[in-house]
């Protein structure tokens, strides 16, 4: 491979003229499509078309039995007068507000700790990453038992600390969401920790050495070198975390099923219940659009914010 002489004329440029160039282009179009096609067929029918269809569906009145009927914004009108929708929206925001900063802080903290030249760092990294690859069902099941109100280990521990009436966690309307957030932070921190570790490895060691020579303390180095250098990573982590928070489903579905009452009901569950359980395709697609617009807005706002802070 490497022995190919570079003195050979580049193909298609010399000696062929325009005819050969167009033929080459046409054949490379064919070749290009042939590579993409097997994946594209599946992707188009099962992702691209549904994405577009979702928008159209939100303007239709359609359940699994009737014929579709155009109703304009009626689904959206129904939605804004429906307090289950508002509860789910509030709960989703609540989950995000808890999950995003806590996971980010935990991931960054662990990454900084693990970025030091310590023996056995590999072991800690494996241990901290492991929750991320365990199934959400197992995570939910184990945490539900850990948080069991009467004899669960967590509340035993809290009583040991002198808290006489520890929270009822997933059985309490006030504490169910914090319980879900704790379990989700525990599970997700390993993933974002890896992203931060990758980011930390790109910071040149000379920066720290120079700062150390200048007598900058550990905190100063962290705030003035680590944090600014990690800005692109933080930006990416923030977007990923926020998007994943708004999509939360599995963990809540298995831990609380949206309860008790509607205290942990989130948007994805409304979409699932209305669309797939009840067969109200139009209405659930309207809720989908809200979820999509929220995610899109957050992404765009964060992109803007990133661009401004780079200037």
């Amino acid at each position: 491979m490497a022995s190919t002489p570079t003195t050979l004329p580049a193909p298609g440029v010399s000696g062929g003229g325009r005819y050969r160039a167009t033929r080459r282009r046409r054949s490379s179009t064919w070749v290009g499509w042939s590579f993409i096609l097997p994946n594209f067929l599946g992707f188009a029918t099962l992702t691209l078309v549904p994405v577009i269809a979702s928008l159209a569906l939100s303007f239709l009145d359609w359940d699994s039995y009737s014929t579709p009927r155009w109703v304009g914004l009626a689904n959206f009108e129904r939605m804004i007068h429906n307090d289950t929708f508002w509860t789910a929206l509030r709960n989703t925001a609540y989950y995000a507000v808890g999950h995003v900063p806590l996971t980010l802080a935990a991931a960054l903290g662990f990454a900084v700790l693990l970025n030091q030249k310590l023996r056995g760092v590999q072991f800690f990294r494996t241990a901290l990453f492991f929750p991320y690859i365990t199934s959400l069902v197992a995570v939910a099941v184990v945490w539900n038992m850990l948080l069991s109100p009467d004899l669960g280990p967590v509340n035993q521990f809290l009583r040991g600390l002198g808290i006489d009436h520890p929270p009822g966690w997933t059985t309490s309307t006030t504490w169910a969401m914090p319980a879900v957030i704790v379990a989700s932070v525990w599970r997700d921190l390993g993933y974002y920790m890896i992203l931060y570790l990758a980011g930390l490895q790109t910071i040149p060691a000379e920066l720290y050495e120079a700062a150390q020579v200048d007598g900058a303390s550990g905190w100063q180095r962290f705030w003035h070198i680590t944090v600014p250098s990690l800005r692109p990573t933080t930006f990416f982590v923030l977007i990923m975390l926020t998007i994943s928070s708004f999509k939360v489903f599995d963990l809540i579905q298995v831990m609380t099923e949206g309860g008790p009452g509607r205290s942990t009901l989130v948007l994805s569950q409304v979409i699932f219940r209305e669309g797939i359980t009840q067969g109200r395709f139009g209405y659930s697609s309207a809720v989908s659009m809200v979820l999509f617009v929220i995610v899109l807005t957050i992404t765009v706002v964060q992109f803007r914010w990133q661009r401004r802070s780079e200037r």
């Binding site: 190919t4 490379s28 070749v31 290009g32 590579f35 993409i36 097997p38 994946n39 599946g42 992702t47 549904p50 994405v51 269809a53 979702s54 569906l57 310590l118 494996t126 241990a127 901290l128 990453f129 492991f130 929750p131 690859i133 365990t134 199934s135 959400l136 069902v137 197992a138 995570v139 099941v141 184990v142 038992m145 009467d150 004899l151 280990p153 035993q156 890896i194 992203l195 990758a198 150390q212 200048d214 003035h224 070198i225 250098s229 800005r231 692109p232 990573t233 998007i243 999509k247 599995d250 579905q253 298995v254 979409i271 699932f272 797939i276 697609s285 989908s288 659009m289 999509f292 995610v295």
Partner: protein
């Protein structure tokens, strides 16, 4: 990026011996501190697993004993044999293995093939097409799961394994991950192979694919683990008990026998075990895959 910690005072010579020794001492104190902190935090993170494993070897009545017994009074290994009789665990595991392997194989195959088209072949419309792939990564799955479901329903594929295979085999993420990696392979290599008379398919199969083993391993591992752990997909599409995956089986076991704490934990351990083994074998590729997907 402004560096506030690099003022012109650097012209003064670095401090001589004594402060250096002081710094070294401080450094080792910091090391000890870091170790203690890491150990405490890692133990805290691993406690749920420890509790899961210890509970899986107890009697139901012992699981919630006060105070907590970390080491069972008596090890009930028979939990691990009895559970196979209580639920069709073998069927669930077989279904999970089948789905995970099929989906992983298809994703790696079609994903790497498409990624070659996007990374190494120039043709009109390519970049617009790629943008469509990227754009859908940003759309939450929940926002289009209903139309997907309708398509599957119309095609008569609800309650079949094929529906899940089709849904997950053609991921935009897989194409994106592989393309990112292919972009790091110098074009000169494929250029040279072209001059040697190799077709584009030959270049993909004989040059690019062997060179991208780490990326293929990353994608394969991430896909396998995601499919194995997936709950929502099977939950929506599979109603027939015989088709269920281990995740659905475990969930239903919890619902049916919610007082059999020890057995529930045994099931959880068994659902996590295969992933633990795979993870320990391919840890490096996991980390690489995640780090790659995190780079823009």
């Amino acid at each position: 990026m402004t560096l506030t910690a690099a003022p012109p005072t650097r012209t003064t010579p670095p401090p001589a011996d004594p402060p250096v020794r002081g710094r070294r001492q401080l450094f080792s104190v910091r090391r000890v501190f870091a170790y203690v902190l890491l150990t405490v935090l890692s133990v805290a993170v691993l406690v749920p697993f420890a509790w899961m494993v210890s509970s899986s070897l107890k009697l139901d009545a012992e699981v919630f004993s006060v105070p907590i017994r970390w080491i069972p009074a008596e090890f009930h290994w028979d939990n691990f044999t009895r559970i196979w009789e209580r639920i069709p665990l073998l069927t669930y595991l077989r279904n999970s293995v089948f789905l995970s392997l099929t989906i992983t194989a298809l994703q790696v195959l079609t994903g790497s093939f498409a990624a070659y088209g996007f990374a190494k072949v120039r043709f009109p419309g390519r970049d617009a097409l790629f943008l469509a792939y990227i754009a859908t990564i940003a759309v939450p799955w929940q926002a289009y799961m209903v139309p997907q479901y309708i398509i599957m329903q119309k095609a008569g594929l609800v309650n079949t394994h094929l529906s899940l295979i089709l849904l997950q085999a053609f991921s935009a993420f897989g194409v994106f991950l592989m393309r990112q990696y292919y972009l790091t392979i110098p074009d000169e290599l494929s250029e040279a192979a072209r001059l040697d008379g190799l077709s584009e398919y030959g270049i993909w199969a004989r040059i690019v694919l062997p060179l991208s083993k780490p990326a293929l391993a990353s994608l394969a591992l991430l896909t396998f683990v995601n499919t194995w752990n997936d709950y929502m997909g099977p939950f929506i599409y599979l109603t027939d008990n015989k088709l269920w995956t281990i995740q659905l089986g475990l969930r239903s076991f919890v619902g049916l026998y919610d007082a059999e704490y020890a057995m529930i934990m045994t099931g959880s351990v068994l659902s996590v075990l295969p992933i633990l083994v795979i993870f320990l074998l391919g840890q490096k590729y996991f980390v690489q895959g995640i780090a790659t997907s995190g780079m823009k």
